[in-house]
């Protein structure tokens, strides 16, 4: 059984289509990222997964439970951290966690112990009797995550958990997520930070309510560029254009720079690692002297911009 299945999900608010025919699946135990700029439809999508919004059309299932019809059963399996702090500011850290533990029906015998463990895990022990409203932004985020875990959910959904917090804490959060994943928890994280998304096993890239690419980060980059890139510096007095063009694995290439007796080309291939050696051998066989050759690292940001045609 999949953790999350979305099939042709559309959500319309009056005349605005917030989510447009979106389909994706999240496997159990996966760290899945929903990536996209602001107003891409990420929050609407996860609210539908949480059963807080009803799709205009299409189906949403969480561990086989249809949302929002089976909201009550599904919610026991979901730990949800909304984008904005939504715990009770006039209750203490401990009281908030205790409240949610009891509304989620956590057996009395394990409540205290679990809360203590989570307080410890998320470095909240020193704040336990502090009112939630008095905490700093970063501490509030940790409390929100800890509270979402009090009922030991199989799926944790986090909406922009790292927006507006410092890099140190961002890094810490991703460590938390990986830790949870290693414990067998499925995670769905939305973010608009492209660099963070590299931590995810699989991603869905959203823009203007649609999914424009999905898969592992590497697959998405490959999808975006229709392949991967290799940079070759060759020693030459004459440009080896024909030699490169005749290489079977090269789909496209471009001269990037021409210096004294050497030239830099970028080649588009299907799989940079696999084709690196082929290119090297092929060029040498054709009498081209290769000074250096290496795969080019493409960031998700590059991929995203390429997929969406830049900042248009």
């Amino acid at each position: 059984m999949k953790a999350i299945v979305l099939e042709n999900v559309t959500k319309r608010f009056k005349d605005v289509v917030a989510v447009n025919n979106v389909s994706f699946e999240v496997e159990q135990g996966e760290l899945f990222g929903l990536l996209g700029p602001n107003a891409a439809g990420k929050t609407t999508t996860i609210r539908m997964i949480c059963g807080l919004l009803e799709p205009t059309s299409g189906t949403v299932e969480v561990f086989g439970y249809r949302q929002p019809r089976d909201r009550v059963q599904a919610s026991k399996l979901i730990g949800y951290v909304p984008q904005h702090f939504s715990l009770y500011e006039d209750l203490t850290v401990y009281e908030n966690m205790m409240f949610f533990a009891s509304v989620y029906g956590v057996p009395y015998s394990v409540r205290r112990e679990r809360i203590e463990r989570l307080l410890d895990q998320f470095l909240l022990t020193e704040f336990r009797d502090r009112l939630a409203g008095q905490l700093s932004g970063g501490t509030k985020r940790r409390l929100a995550l800890a509270t979402a875990l009090v009922h030991d959910p199989a799926l944790v959904i986090l909406d922009e958990p790292t927006s507006g917090i410092d890099p140190h804490l961002r890094f810490l959060f991703w460590r938390f997520f990986e830790e949870l994943r290693d414990q067998g928890v499925t995670l769905l994280v939305t973010t608009h930070y492209m660099d963070e998304a590299e931590f995810c096993e699989r991603l869905a890239l959203m823009r203007a309510g649609r999914i424009i690419a999905q898969g592992a980060p590497r697959d998405i980059k490959r999808q975006a560029l229709r392949g991967e890139l290799i940079e070759v510096v060759v020693k030459t007095s004459r440009l080896p254009v024909e030699a490169i063009a005749s290489l079977e694995c090269v789909k496209d290439f471009r001269l990037m720079e021409r210096g004294e007796g050497q030239a830099t080309f970028v080649l588009l291939v299907d799989d940079a690692q696999r084709d690196l050696l082929r290119v090297l051998r092929g060029l040498e066989r054709r009498g081209v002297e290769v000074l250096s050759i290496m795969p080019i690292y493409v960031s998700l940001e590059d991929a995203f911009l390429s997929l969406t045609g830049g900042l248009k």
């Binding site: 609210r47 949480c50 807080l52 919610s75 939504s86 509304v103 989620y104």
Partner: protein, 368 residues
């Protein structure tokens, strides 16, 4: 002067929330219209009084009755044949008072003897004693002036008696109203903010994610606010009884039970307001808008008979406050038990059930 930027900003913000603006502009107009519809016009609105004319053959007794009912504000509810019957009707609350003209009334006057008129008023009914005695006094004066030519100056004495009396202090008379206001406005306003506050602060999203039902949310909040309001109720009632020596003629337990029923009714109503309001400002506006008409038309300003039939059926009989005042006065001032005010209990009970179940049905367990 940096005052202008603030002025402009405030005005812009006010206009940006059309629903609240409409409510705050339209509300006073609507209230005024309701007030006019309830008390305006030239209708003959009066409280009923029983008349026992034991001198039916004498012409002066009928003259007096004519004068009495020339005054606005009272009307003959029924004519009965004996003093006992008339007093019984007052005790039962069918009429607010009784006017008894004794035998030989006309003869006494004609003979130049002292004449008597007996007025029995329901002391527990606000306004009634004043209105009735004023009307009778005025009528006696007119009669005396009129007969002076024929029979000379004759003393006609008004004997006053009360039912549920002898007298009710101002404090006692106002206690039902004060309790009504406190048990209506305060709990309703408090609870009307409770769900809107969660929506405004964003905690509602997290709350409805939990595997709980509408029952849990509405019921849980209601119980909590009931506990708080009970403390409020015992406090106010306690001060009235212990500090200001207000007498409760009926059983205190019944008075408390009846007040709790009313409390549940106002809380359920506030809950419903909270469920249908989008934000705290709207909830507050709606609460006030519900409160003002019940202040105007629940028998606080005037006897219910002075309200036009339209507004009586539209507002008075649909307002929990009306039934509370009636029942509370009956238990406290007349010494009734809760069983005697079962009609008022039933009305409050039905309203509570309607408000409570509407709140549950209308509560949205989704966003947007």
């Amino acid at each position: 002067m940096r005052i202008w930027p603030i002025v402009v900003k405030e005005l812009k913000q006010l206009v940006r929330d059309p629903r609240s603006l409409l409510m705050n502009v339209a509300m006073p107009l609507l209230v005024m219209l309701m007030f006019g519809a309830g008390y305006g016009g030239h209708g003959t609105r009066a409280i009923p009084v029983a008349v026992a004319n034991l001198d039916p053959q004498g012409e002066l007794s009928w003259e007096l009755i004519d004068y009495i009912f020339q005054a606005p504000g009272i009307e003959p509810g029924c004519y009965v044949g004996s003093e006992e019957e008339a007093v019984e009707l007052v005790k039962e609350g069918v009429v607010y008072g009784a006017i008894i003209i004794p035998e030989h009334f006309t003869d006494d006057i004609k003979a130049g003897r002292k004449a008597y008129v007996k007025v029995v008023v329901d002391a527990a009914a606000p306004f009634a004693p004043t209105v009735i005695t004023a009307s009778v006094t005025m009528a006696l004066y007119k009669l005396q002036v009129n007969i002076a030519e024929d029979y000379g100056t004759v003393a006609i004495i008004m004997q006053q008696e009360t039912v549920h009396g002898p007298e009710i202090s101002t404090m006692e008379g106002f206690t039902p109203i004060t309790m009504g206001l406190l048990l209506y406005l305060v709990p309703m306003t408090l609870i009307s903010l409770s769900i809107c506050r969660e929506k405004e602060r964003g905690t509602y999203e997290q709350l409805i994610m939990a595997p709980i039902s509408r029952w849990d949310i509405i019921g849980g909040k209601l119980v909590a606010y009931t506990v708080l309001s009970l403390a409020n109720m015992f406090g106010t009632l306690g001060i009235a009884i212990l500090v200001f020596d207000v007498k409760v003629k009926g059983p205190l337990v019944d008075l408390v039970a009846f007040s709790i029923l009313f409390l549940m009714c106002s809380l359920s109503m506030g809950m419903l307001v909270s469920v249908v309001s989008k934000n705290q400002l709207q909830a507050l506006g709606t609460s006030i808008f519900i409160f003002i008409p019940s202040l105007l038309f629940s028998g606080i300003l005037s006897p219910e008979e002075y309200i036009s039939p339209l507004m009586r059926y539209l507002v008075t009989y649909t307002s929990p406050m009306y039934y509370f005042l009636k029942g509370f006065r009956a238990i406290m001032l007349k010494g009734y038990t809760i069983a005697d005010v079962w009609m008022e209990c039933l009305a409050l009970g039905i309203m509570t059930v309607i408000f409570f179940s509407s709140a549950i049905v209308l509560l949205r367990m989704k966003l947007g």
